[in-house]
Symmetry: C2
Subunit: 212 residues, 2 copies
């Protein structure tokens, strides 16, 4: 049940790059179902760029424009061009802090995945771990979903639960959620690339079991 | 770390009574931290009433008034009187389908617990399991929380995660969530009655470990 060709993946990142590292590790181990051929970042100097360089992955930092939470429309076209120049078919948002809009999403329909550090639909948007902490949730976790125009709203591919422990600080909780993300994201990417599924409404119906 | 006196519990129920049965089983096994002395129901003839009778628990069906989703104000006072007549100190909502308001809640401040079949704050309100199913959640569960004036909004005592399986139907998922409720509610009641805790904002901070 593999894709007709090996997927060419791009990772978009703004931060430390720990999810990128987990994805690159899975790629190296042959467990990602595709190959990361490009890293794009809106933040020159961020940790994700160093990790890409260490791993020998092409990395570019095209201009993002003058907005802080989105790509400027002209920039969005430029980012799509860069992705196309590398023949990328699937985009992974790994701590990418800008909202993508229709021109970008329409260029890769149904092929943009995001990881979010909560059990969506609980705690969407920024500071999800802090939101869950403040709320007093006793179970939180992380979600890999398809990206649609709504923020953190697309169909859910996989989720992983993380309990809040009595002796947790917000920092120890965050560390466990990040560890869950690093396990979940490669697993969800592989499933997305290798397992047939269909959408029923916004439900993702997997049509074949997960690889062992 | 036990309460100064054994708690006298009332269960309010509208439905089949499966959560009442789980609570009564824990009570009989000495694992509830208190004793169920009264069942009140707004639905004469519901399953919960039969279960109360089977178990020899006092059961009453005071008039709920003419509204469908709340107790009429005069009825709310009557219900409080019934609870006081039985010297009840803690109220457990087990599938009770009416919203309680300030006069009731003020009569038992911080002593009303509810169980809800989702990981709140996701999927509050009615048909939570159906909501989670339709949404395509991959992890859902149940929540025991203190009841406040907001619907399904009070501080969370405990939660339990339930995965949505690839071969689930909405019915098989519901069955597993109900089983999780039947385990969680008695455990949370016992913790509430026996373990010291304090509220920090809306976070419940348990100050002693759970009984083994």
């Amino acid at each position: 049940m593999t894709s007709p060709r090996s997927s060419r993946l791009a990772v978009l990142a703004s931060g430390h790059g720990s999810n990128l590292r987990a994805l690159a590790d899975a790629d190296r181990a042959g467990e990602l179902g595709g190959s990361i051929v490009l890293v794009l970042s809106d933040r020159p100097g961020c940790g994700a760029i160093s990790i890409a360089r260490e791993r020998g992955i092409a990395v570019e930092t095209p201009d993002a424009g003058c907005f802080r939470t989105r790509l400027e429309p002209a920039a969005e076209s430029e980012w799509v061009e860069r992705l196309r120049a590398h023949d990328v078919d699937t985009i992974l948002l790994a701590g990418f802090m800008r909202i993508l809009h229709a021109p970008f999403l329409d260029a890769f329909p149904g092929r943009v995945l995001n990881i979010h550090p909560s059990l969506l639909p609980a705690f969407p948007g920024v500071d999800a771990i802090h939101q869950a902490w403040r709320h007093g949730a006793r179970i939180t976790g992380c979600t890999v979903h398809l990206v649609t125009a709504g923020i953190d709203e697309g169909p859910i591919l996989m989720q992983s639960a993380v309990p809040v422990l009595d002796d947790d600080s917000e920092e120890t909780l965050a560390a466990r959620i990040h560890a869950a993300e690093h396990a979940l994201f490669p697993r969800a990417v592989r499933a997305f690339l290798e397992r047939p599924f269909r959408l029923e409404g916004r439900r993702v119906l997997w049509l074949a079991p997960e690889a062992p």
